[in-house]
Every structure is written in C-alpha cells, then in structure tokens.
C-alpha cells in the first residue's frame, strides 16, 4: 500500500506560519505525476543528504529518469563519490534560487527556465525561505518538496515524515517508481 504522505501537515518548525497561502500535502502518486509531466523539472538536493546517504542513491535514481539535479552546498561530493555526475550541477542554493526567480534565466543547461523545482535534503529553514522567494517573486515555477518535512512555502509537499525514515524512504521510492514508469 502507498505511504500516506499527507498526514501531519504542520510546519516542521512550528512557528513557520507565513500567511494565508500555505502548502498542501499530497501523496506520492500526485507528486510523482506532477514531476513526470513537467517540461523542465529540476531536482535540488542539499547537504542533509550526507546524514542519510542512501538518499544520494535515490537522487541518482531520479536523475536517471531524466530529471537534472542541482547539487547545493557540498552535496556534489556525494555524487562524485558515487561516480554519478551525468546531469548533476554544483551550485549554491542561494544563487540558484536567485536565478530561478528571474523569468529570463536560461537554466543550468542554457535551455530555458524550469517549470517545476523539487527540493530535498536541504536545511529546513533555508529551503523554506527559498520556497518563499519563489512563491512571492516567481509564481510560474511550481514548488515541490519531497523532503521529510511539511514545507509550508511549497505548492506541494509531504507531511512530516522526519521521525519515520523507513516510511520516508518508501515514499521516495514510490515517487521514483512513478517517474520511471
């Protein structure tokens, strides 16, 4: 049975209540479908992957479905170590978000702005703030979180799965399966 990723949809850091517009939690099928049908998706992964290294492998699995990866902080190291750098680009999350917020940016590959960004493995507060930037200043990009937290400033997110690593991994696997299907 599919993991219920819609439960416990309250901000991971309790007081992160920005205003009237707050993310909705979705199940893996919907999130997978949104990513799959994206024309220009971008998976953005951060340094928290080092705390749960299997996530590197899952990120690579997503990368292999054709979703390019922005490796923020020093997370590129995890990909280098695994020998997967195919469609992985090393870039800071801050400048990346700065590029994303401008409609005229042409993407990491110079082929155009992205339409869906998917965050995972990024320090919660930082990711939340970057989602906020996009939410307020470039609403053309759909903001998706597949991290283990409910991400209030995303468009679509999981609920909090932070305290159940297995279920979280399972959920990610479901997303990957959906993408690979």
């Amino acid at each position: 049975m599919a993991v219920d990723t819609t439960k416990n949809a309250v901000p991971f850091e309790m007081a992160q209540i920005p205003g009237p517009e707050m993310a909705k939690a979705y199940n893996t099928a919907v999130i997978g479908a949104i990513i799959k049908k994206a024309k220009r998706p971008l998976l953005v992964v951060g340094a928290e992957l080092f705390e749960d290294p299997v996530m590197f492998d899952k990120a690579i699995a997503i990368g292999k479905t054709g979703v390019p990866i922005a490796a923020t902080a020093h997370s590129i190291k995890g990909f280098v170590e695994r020998g997967y750098t195919e469609n992985v680009t090393m870039i800071g999350l801050h400048p990346l978000t700065n590029y994303l917020r401008f409609k005229d940016w042409q993407g990491l590959d110079g082929k155009g702005q992205y339409d869906v960004v998917i965050f995972t493995g990024i320090f919660y507060k930082f990711a939340s703030a970057m989602f906020s930037t996009l939410k307020n200043f470039n609403r053309d990009i759909k903001r998706v979180s597949i991290d283990r937290y409910y991400h209030v400033n995303a468009d679509m997110t999981f609920g909090n799965l932070a305290f159940d690593p297995e279920k979280y991994h399972e959920a990610i696997d479901e997303v990957i399966a959906k993408l690979a299907a």
Binding site: M14, E21, T72, K77, I91, W105, K135
Partner: protein
C-alpha cells in the same frame, strides 16, 4: 578642523556670559581638502547604492507574507498583491530590512552615546590619540563626517549626525512613506554605513577613556571559558556589551583588594571589553593609569551569548550585572529561580525592576542578598559596580544554604527526567540546530551520556525544547549534568582585543592585498550560533589562516573559536601571531571594534593607494570593492546588529557570507553571472568600459554548509585588480578548497582566468586542456598561452572603478 570649547567673560556686556561653541582654526596637521560628501544625507550616496544594487540584485525571502504594521492590516502581500497602503511584497521586505538595520545601528550608536556621556563625566574631555603607529586614526569618521577628531568631545557632532539620520530613516518606515524596495535598500545601506560609524565612535571612545590596546598585535592572552571562573570565590558575571558598570566593578575590586574573594566573568562583548582595560599605551590621567595598569587581564571571559543558559544551568555565577544589548530577557527569570541577584545598569534594560539608583549601596545590597527582590536597577555605573561586587561576595554563602539556588540536578533527578521521555519528538520539532533530542534523551535514560556530550556545543540553549516538552523535562539541565566535567575544565586562552589596525601594518600588506598575493582578508564577525557555529568558527579561521590569508575576528566568534586547541593543546591564538598580516589571526575586539576592519579597508585606499578619504565615501568604497580582496563571515549571527554590520560592510564594498538561518534577515545581494552587462567596469585611465569577471560575485550570501561557506569566501576574495600572481594564488585556494570539500573543481573556475599565468601551477596543464576541449578557448600549446577565450585580457595597469568622476582622461 580642530575644535575647542570653553567660556570667557566680556566686560562691556552686562549680565552676559559667552559660551564658546567652537574655536575653529585651520589645521596644519590635516591638509586634505574637504571631499565631496561630508555628513552625507539619505540621498547623497544613493547613486553609489544603485550601482551596488544594479550588479548585486536585491534578493528577498519573505518570512511573513503579511504586513501587520497599520490598522488597515493585516494585509496579505503574497505574490503580486499590494497592501492597503499600496506597498508590495518587495518594498515591505525592504522596509523590514531597514527597520532591522536601524535597530542594529542604534544598538551600536546608542551604546556609543552612553559611553560618550559617561566617559566625559568620569574622565572629562580627553585628547584623542591613537599613538604614533596609527595616524589615520578614525578612518570612518574621516571618510563619512570629513572631520579629524582631536578630543573625545569631537565625536559629539558625529553621534548627533548619526542620530539625526537615524530619525530620518526610521521615519521612512512609517506607513505611506518610502514605497520602492530599491530606495528602502539604499536607506538600509545608509543605515549600515551609519552603523559602522557609530561602532567606530563607540570603540574609539572606550579605547581612549579606558586605555585599551591601540593596535597591539601582542595584546595579552586572557582566560576564557566557564572553567576559568573560580568557584572558591564569589562569581560576578557581567553580561552585555557596555563595560561602564562592569569596569567600575573591576576598579572597585582592585581598589579594595578583593580579587581573592571575587572573580569577574564577562558574557558577550562586555567580556571582551573587560579584558582590554588599561592595556594600552597609557592613560592620560596618571593616577588612573598607575592604579589600574593591566587590570583587564584579571577579568575572565565566561563565554559568548550562545553559552548563557548553559552557564546558568552550569551554576557558574553568584550575581549578575547586565548592561545592554544581547542579554537574554529571561535572565531575570533564571535569576529569581536560582537566587542569583541581578543588577540592571543601563536604561535600555530595566526589566520592570525597581530603580534604586538613588538609594545607599548597603540598603540595595541588603535587599538583594536577602532575596527581597530578584533584581534592581542601578544606573550609576560606580554604584552599580560596588553593589555588584558586594552582593556577589555577600550572597555566595547565602546561596549555598539554599538548595534551589543550585541549578545542577541530582543523579536521581537526571535519571527520572530522562526516563520520563515519551519520545514524542515535540522537542525536535522546534530545535533550531535540529538536534535529535529524543534520541539523545533516550540514550541518557539508557545510561549513555555521550550524545549529551557530543551535542552540547551544538545546542544553542534556546530553551524551546523545554517549553514544548509535555513531560516538562528540563533538557538544558540534563545537558549541564552530563557535561559537569566539561564545564569545570572549559579553560582556554584568548587574545585580548587589539583595537585598530596600524598604519605600518597597512603599509606592509597594502600592495600584496591589492595585487592578490595575500589572497584576502577574512573578517570573522558577530556571533556563532546554529547549526554548529561554535566549532565551525574555529574551522573557518583555521582553514584561512593556514592558507596565508589575513584573518581578523571580533565579538562572540572570537570567543567561540578559543574553545578548541590543536594537538599541542594550543588555541588558535597561541598557534598564530596577532598581527594584521597573512598567516596571522588578530582579535580586533568586541563587536563595536569591527569598525576597525572597515577602517583597514579605508586605510589601504588612503595609506597604500594615497586616496583622499576625507568626506569621500563612495570613492573609497569603490576602491575597496574593486581592489581589496576582503570578505566577512558571520557564521551564526542572530541579531539585528549583524544585519546592520553586514549592510555596512556591503556599502563599503566588502562582501559577506552568512549561515543558513540568516535567511531570517530576508534580504541578500546576489550577482548574476549570466548577465554580462552587469559586470561592466570603467577603466579609470580613459573611461573605457570593460566587461569583467564577476569579482566579487556576490555581496551578501547565505551558505548552506561550512564547506560552501569556505569555498564562497575564497571566491569572494577575487578582485579585478589581482595581478597574475595574485589571481593564481586565489584560484589555487579556490580550487583547492573545492577539491578538498566538494571532491571536484568548482564549475566556474574558467571565468576567473584572464591569462595562462593566472592558472594554478599544479593544475595548469589540465586546465589548459579543459579550457580548450570543454570551453573552446584557443590555446597556444607551444607557449602554454591562451590566445582567446577569457572574458577580458590580463592588463596590469587596468584601473577598475565604478564611478564616472574617477576617470582621469575624459574621452
């Protein structure tokens, strides 16, 4: 201009007294003509700000989508909505940024104003002298105000200027005033500049009045850490940023030979300033000088603000004096709970306590010692100091009598609490550094204290976990219990704050800095908080000092990095000399002292490059932006002061890197390397425009990890003025850090290459190949030379500027 004040009588005028406001004489010592912008107003430097912001895009991350400031609100500003007053989200964020920067700016300026009044009261007006090695003695004051102070009183008009501008700027945040984010940010940059000025004035006043070190690279090593507080004595903790009351406590202890009965430990910047007192070139008041020579070395540095609640739970104090800024407001709650009398010594923090300023010392002490009130206000620093010492000594035995006064919990309590955890994760939901508190407590219940030890430094003591714990487990007390030995043994050495950078040092490093052969100045400023700021302060400092950068620290991060030693047991201060030079690390002083780092930049322009600094802010800032490879870092800054500090550095052309949780500041300045037109720089020789590499690429940057921070700082030290050797050195460090922590080369290294001699020797061959194969550059393999490809060609006499009036030959 040289000013004196006084009064004299005029005979023919009856009943008249003439106060001389200012005797103005043409000053022979300073032959600099007045520059274009003395005492700049809001709009004066707006053009410069717009230049900065055209290159470094204002970037906002709203933390709250609503505005609740006027009665039309709350207004939802999400996306492209405007509030009832017409404001949009960007302008609202700019407004909040301006308010925050003003809060920070006034925290420093008001501190300076208090010291100004107090020092004039205590010492009278004193000659302002920085010693023979510092002739450019108040660089921000000169650059911004266009004056050259001769006595402490000359700083009065400078403070008045700051206050007038602050009032103008705060007015702009009123609903229905400024409405465009760019102008809000120009105003914030103005406030940041005022902040730097206020800091300079504050530190210069205390340096002169309290005879602190004036650029002394051999400033004494002082004791630092909770373990340095001698529990056989009464412990008086002085907490905050303003030494006035604390210094008096030290003088009282000295006068009355009480150092064997009392230890004075400072928390936050007061700690640093305590340890600078009377270590300078000599106080003009000989009696004072003789009496208190080196008294600063008797004070201890208890620790940085992030350690406050750990000290409380670690039973490190008998009495608290608070002054101003960075004082956790529940100090009084803990004081009452743990029977630690508290004396509030400054109008800014009075905590609802009774004002006992006009009562006799012994009555106040008696009330405190008998716990009739948890704290008092005593606004006279002399009286406060005496009350503090007497209370600490008298209350110590009383506190010992009372069990609750000891915040340490017993072994049974520890076990009971740890076992009561239901593993509900409420704590982890709110922990800023995301410590897995549930796991930590569960391990403790099973007898394994290691997790409590290994996360002790990471914990910022915010107390959120305790507040949300449904079992009411005093988690900080579990930490204190498990780290009893660590607390007792936390004993280190830190170098006392040396004050300004000397002219001689600037002469030595000026050329290498501008050419890049000293790869940069790493300014470590503010406080180190979560995640893991304390340890990472040390890591950053160590990384760069090892690499030959000039490393300069101030404030709480200077304390935090003192808590680590090398294999030989030496702290970083003992490992490296304290000059302003490559492979040196200097502690400049408390937070207000970081103005001397702005000052160092100005002095490179004026001493090394011969620029006139007088009332010439934008020219100097332009010089620094284009030619002085410096980068600040606040690795865990929490406060509005950090916002104003960073903003002040940015206006002066110095980039800064901050930690992830600094997204709470809401605003950054980020460059776009895909916009060639943003990086057009003027060649001052002929006014021609040159597309440059993005150097520096960003002005205010949030890094996600310490690894990214270090890489980015190395990169942000690039400057257009680097010569080939300098660029090669900088590129070497940039690529080397990337290889070390990222496992690969940074993808943008080619944009910094102008000439083959810019290439690091160890990768030169490979890099040339890659430039050819991957980037399509034309390489002359015979000469190992680059024929075409770079953004611009290497040109040793290129004179980069962003200011039209600097063009020497008009086209």
């Amino acid at each position: 201009m040289d000013k004196m004040e006084g009064s004299f009588a005029v005979e023919d005028m009856q009943n008249v007294q003439i106060n001389i406001g200012a005797v103005v004489k043409e000053v022979e010592e300073w032959d600099q003509p007045m520059g274009p912008f003395p005492y700049p107003s809001i709009a004066t430097l707006r053009n410069w700000d717009f230049k900065i912001m055209n290159r470094y895009k204002v970037f906002y991350s709203p933390i709250c989508d609503r505005c609740t400031l006027c009665t039309y609100g709350p207004c939802d500003l999400t996306g492209n909505k405007r509030g009832a007053c017409g404001i949009d989200q960007a302008a609202q964020q700019g407004r909040i940024v301006l308010i925050a920067v003003l809060m920070g700016c006034t925290a420093h300026a008001a501190h300076g104003r208090h010291l100004y009044h107090w020092c004039l009261d205590k010492f009278g007006d004193l000659p302002f002298k920085m010693g023979d090695e510092i002739l450019v003695d108040a660089p921000l004051t000169r650059t911004i105000a266009g004056i050259k102070p001769k006595t402490l009183k000359d700083f009065g008009p400078v403070l008045s200027y700051v206050e007038e501008q602050v009032s103008q700027l705060l007015a702009c945040t009123h609903t229905g005033q400024e409405g465009n984010y760019v102008d809000f940010e120009s105003k914030a940059l103005h406030a940041g500049m005022l902040d730097s000025l206020g800091k300079e004035v504050s530190d210069l006043i205390q340096i002169v009045a309290y005879d602190m070190p004036r650029g002394d690279e051999d400033a004494p090593l002082v004791e630092c850490g909770m373990g340095t507080l001698d529990k056989n004595k009464a412990i008086l903790i002085t907490y905050g940023h303003n030494l006035a009351g604390s210094a008096e406590a030290m003088f009282y202890a000295e006068d009355n030979k009480l150092w064997d009965k009392v230890d004075i430990g400072g928390v936050c910047c007061t700690a640093i300033d305590n340890t600078r007192i009377c270590e300078g070139i000599g106080h003009p008041d000989k009696e004072f000088n003789d009496k208190y020579r080196m008294v600063g070395t008797k004070a201890k540095i208890a620790g940085a603000i992030g350690w406050w609640r750990k000290m409380v739970r670690g039973d490190c104090m008998d009495c608290i004096m608070v002054d101003e800024q960075c004082v956790w407001t529940d100090a009084i709650v803990d004081a009452e709970k743990y029977k630690i009398p508290l004396i509030a010594t400054n109008e800014k923090i009075m905590l609802g306590l009774p004002d006992r300023t006009n009562d006799p010392v012994d009555e106040i002490v008696d009330d405190l010692v008998n716990f009739r009130m948890p704290g008092v206000v005593v606004l006279d620093p002399v009286k406060a100091g005496e009350v503090g010492i007497k209370t600490a000594i008298a209350v110590k035995p009383k506190r010992a009598e009372i069990r609750e006064a000891d915040p340490f919990i017993s072994e049974e309590e520890f076990k009971k609490y740890a076992e009561s955890c239901t593993y509900c994760h409420s704590c982890q939901f709110v922990c800023p550094p995301h410590i897995k508190i549930g796991d930590v407590v569960r391990a403790a219940a099973e007898g394994n204290l290691e997790p409590l030890s290994s996360t002790y430094e990471i914990c910022v003591g915010c107390r959120r976990c305790e507040q949300v714990c449904p079992q009411e487990i005093p988690i900080l007390s579990l930490y204190a219990y498990a780290n009893r030995d660590y607390i007792r043994n936390q004993k280190f050495k830190m170098r006392a704050g040396r004050g300004p950078i000397k002219d001689t040092e600037i002469r030595r490093v000026g050329a290498p800095l501008v050419l890049g052969t000293i790869p940069g100045v790493i300014a470590i400023i503010g406080c180190g908080n979560y995640p893991n700021g304390t340890k990472e302060c040390y890591d950053i400092a160590r990384e760069f000092v090892d690499r030959g950068f000039i490393v300069a620290a101030t404030g709480c991060m200077a304390m935090d990095m003192s808590l680590y030693t090398d294999a030989e047991g030496k702290t970083i201060w003992e490992q490296f000399p304290g000059g302003f030079d490559g492979r040196n690390i200097c502690n400049v002083g408390s937070c207000v002292a970081n103005a001397h780092l702005h000052g160092a930049g100005i002095k490179v322009a004026t001493i090394f490059a011969g620029r006139n600094e007088r009332a010439n802010y934008d020219d100097i800032a332009d010089y620094i932006l284009s030619k002085v490879g410096a980068c600040g870092v606040a690795w865990g800054a929490y406060s509005q002061k950090a916002a104003s500090i960073a903003t002040g550095f940015n206006r002066l052309g110095v980039p800064a890197v901050v930690q992830s949780h600094s997204v709470m500041y809401r605003r950054a300045f980020l460059g776009r390397t895909d916009k060639k037109e943003d990086w057009e720089i003027i060649d001052a020789r002929d006014g021609s425009k040159v597309y440059c590499e993005p150097a520096p690429e960003h002005m205010l940057y949030v890094a996600e990890s310490v690894e990214e921070c270090m890489l980015m700082m190395a990169k942000l030290c690039f400057r257009p003025s680097d010569n080939n050797s300098g660029r090669m050195i900088k590129l070497t460090h940039y690529c080397d850090i990337s290889m070390k922590y990222f496992g690969c080369m940074p993808p943008d290294w080619p944009i910094y290459v102008r000439h083959a001699s810019d290439l690091p020797l160890k990768w030169k061959e490979d890099m040339l190949k890659e430039l050819e194969s991957k980037y399509g550059w034309e390489i002359d393999w015979k000469r190992k030379a680059i024929v075409s490809g770079p953004i611009r060609k290497s040109d040793v006499s290129f004179d980069p500027t962003n200011i039209e009036r600097k063009i020497r030959v008009k086209k």
